[in-house]
Amino acid sequence: MTNHWIDIKNSDCILIMGSNAAENHPISFKWVNEAMKKGAKLISVDPKFTRTSSKADFYTALRSGTDIAFLGGMIKYIIENNKFFKEYLADYTNASFILGDNYFFKDGVFSGFEPKTGKYNKDAWAFEKDTQGNPKKDVTLENPRCVFQLLKKHYSRYDLQTVSDTTGTPKEDLVSVYEMYSSTGQRGKAGTIMYAMGWTQHTVGVQNIRTMAIIQLLLGNMGIAGGGVNALRGESNVQGSTDHCILYHIWPGYLKTPKASLASLAAYNKKYTPRTNDPLSANWWANYPKYSVSLLKSFFGDKATEANDFGYNWLPKLDDGKSYSWLDLFDEMYKGSFSGFFAWGQNPACSGANSNKTRQALTKLDWLVNVNIFDNETGSFWKGPGMDPKKIKTEVFMLPCAVSVEKEGSITNSGRWMQWRYKAAEPPGSAMPDGEIMTKLFEKVRDLYHKDKNAVFPEPVLNLKWDYTSKGSFDSHKLAKEINGYFLKDITIKGESFKEGDLVPSFVYLQADGSTSSGNWLYCNSYTNKGNMSARRKKEKSGIGLNLEWSWCWPVNRRIIYNRASVDKYGKPWNKQAPVIQWNGSKWVGDVPDGGWPPMLNPDGTPNKKSKYPFIMKPEGYARIFGSGMADGPFPEHYEPLECPVEKNLFSSQLSNPTIPKYTTTMDTYCTCYPKYPFVGTTYRVSEHWQTGIMTRWQPWLLEAQPQLFVEMSTELAKLKGIKNGEKIMVISSRGEVKATALVTSRFKPFTIQGDVIHQIGLPWHYGWVHPKDGGDSANLLTPSTGDPNTRIPETKAFMVNVKKI
């Protein structure tokens, strides 16, 4: 979230699309209700009428996988009805930037596409540069090659009829949503979006979100209270685990995992440190080497020296252009590429797309380590449906771990609040906290490398700084301090003196010469000489809900990011009733500002040369309406899901996203317009269960409330198939099948798409064969191995199925 949960109360219009917040993030609704009490409007857009929809001022449906068409129509409406916030758009976004001659868009494909590789050469999307090397601009937004005019042209194709024929949403409903939401383009008004996996789990996932980001920028809704682009993240610490980068492509703090072509630290830092020639651009990532070197110092401590490139080459490198993501990982596993595998606190046998492939992949392993609090479908895969243990070679270790209240440490919520948790009890039996298991395991590995004089490349194993125990036990405070970072020698920076061993007060003090460490620069400021900031418990008494002294928030306790766009060029808030920050003549007051530089203009209207543009993380300093870094095009374009019910994309002759990954094993099948699978399928969650159900299927209360897998369908579809409510039926895709109880409701309605009736069904993915015995299995047995070309998040929200009486 660019904003945070409580901030939803400051909104004037809340769009919930791609999420069902009332059921899946129930307590978020406290703040939706709060906003509505003050007159805010709530819009719910979802293929199914949900409990979120039941609370909304306006609800309408769309077919799964057509969000860009829906929102593209909104962009057209905003521009053509002059609902955009021109001052914001011209001053703070790249709407004014002028595109070079090589950029064009033709019949669903952007310039630079290389059919052989299925990738774009993004050089074709470059801006025209002035003599200083900065993008040329036209702040009147009239130049026909400026981003704004090209945006207008691109979405002029998204007329109501074409959008409605694609989404199945009635035209008048589209207009109602567009009108309600675009009213927040007025100065002082705020609109917000609450989205979740309903937007990410598509082959156009990132572009779904970018379409909304473009709308938010057109309406001036970024950086302000009650605005922003807000991902409702689904796991208690998925924000923190992402920040600390348990992901192949990034190192903690969103630094890049080095590629094989970057042979030295200097080459690595040069590659990832952006440059600008514009003195008004803060270009925050210019600090990259300070963060990367400080991270290497946290990895390897004293062993990391300038002479050995701070241990840069001790860490593994990726091949250039190769993806090592989840889908690729299980594809390789299925092909037998791995001997060993850790499934730590996760149940991929139910959670990943195409679970049959995942389950078969596990049989190819020599050894599997599964750490969990309950038995689960991954650890016990060898005795699952269709498996013959006598034929499965995999050696399996199932290690019991503590639950959250049996250990001490922090987690980071969706609003980026890092909150400390305390230990309340001991784990059962000999179960141990995960940190304890890691520590003990790594000590044993290290011991083996110590003893073996012929060990292969032992340096990183032996040199990793691993002193995070106290009295023999994992000490989360020690690690929290390492993540924050230390001064490693006595030093004076910016006139302030620090001692060796002092905790670094904020990332502005980090250095690229090895004199500081920081395990994650974004968390620098979270645990300082003043103490553990995440344990703070002082509530805000009045104000807009920032709660600056409750817990801690990255970066540097800033509660609303991009907040320097919440003010005009004089530093006055667009909304005086809910100011995030304001300039008092000598400094900013309110939230921690996105940099302390003065406003763009002096009180007399002359430019202030000491100022910086508000979007400091972009080298050019402007928010990107034109996204030149995207894998699948600088403007979002509607493409059908890889499996879809239509033969034609009404917006172009390009049916699906040309850049998406596909896999080629016999277990990877994709069926579009295939009569055997005529219905659109989607997956979702219910309030009483969570993810694959490991943490909810074993609780009697929760299981009683939602005991088994169901498949929800419209009364029309049930009638067509002769299915009765409550009847056990099969749901089938080309990859698998699940038995489920039919739930016939009027919450799903048939869509009219391109003149044809299209039915959609949905089912939750919380179940698995281990427990309860008659509860059903994972809905991911049905979903395909394909995903977004930017993130490779699987397309589990739109796929093709059939339903069959048993």
Partner: protein, 191 residues
């Protein structure tokens, strides 16, 4: 405040519909003061954050002062600014996650081609895993790729998980896996 099964269903249904007002951190004024004295006499109180979704609701945990040191109650933290005492059905059932007879409590091992688990000691399990790691890493370690570029990695081991770990554990696990040379490192955020 002990919640009965009946209370649970009544209130959690309301919370889900967005009409919770107090949710399971409900206003129990008539019984509150009595319950409070019991809690203080028999339990020590600590705070936690809900382990389910990422709203980050505050929860109070009461641990018995008795010899068993069990968690005897969990409830929404009324002081927490996000949830102000409210919890959804999952957060309200936290005590059943903690005190659950189905929890794994000892390491289990399944031999190749075996049809059953056997209980093993931590020391044995971790030693065997460490040997597996070393064996696989050393056998599959790649210093240079096909282009002759330094890569210093193993593609013989993969890792996933976890968004259920604390931040400090997340940092530790990625450091450990990267130090061992893994490149296939993923978790829930990817799906």
């Amino acid at each position: 405040m002990r919640i009965s099964r009946r209370d649970f269903f009544k209130i959690s249904a309301g919370a889900a519909a967005g009409v919770m007002a107090f949710g399971l951190g409900m206003d129990l004024t008539p019984v509150k003061s009595y319950a409070q004295t019991l809690k203080i006499r028999y339990a020590k109180e600590s705070t936690t954050i809900c382990p389910y979704c990422a709203v980050g609701c505050g929860i109070i945990v009461h641990t018995s002062k008795g010899a068993d040191g069990r968690v005897i109650n969990t409830e929404g933290d009324p002081e927490h600014p996000i949830n102000e005492g409210s919890l959804c059905s999952k957060g309200a059932a936290l005590s059943q996650l903690i005190n659950n007879e189905n929890r794994l409590s000892t390491p289990l091992y399944r031999k190749p081609y075996s049809s059953s688990w056997q209980k093993v000691s931590w020391d044995w399990a971790l030693q065997k895993i460490a040997l597996n790691i070393k064996h696989t890493r050393d056998a599959t370690f790649t210093y240079k790729n096909g282009k002759g570029q330094i890569v210093n990695r193993t593609e013989g081991i993969a890792h996933i998980g976890s968004a259920a770990l604390d931040n400090e554990e997340c940092w530790a696990i990625q450091a450990m896996m990267r130090a061992m040379g893994l490149v296939y490192i993923e978790h829930q955020a990817r799906i």
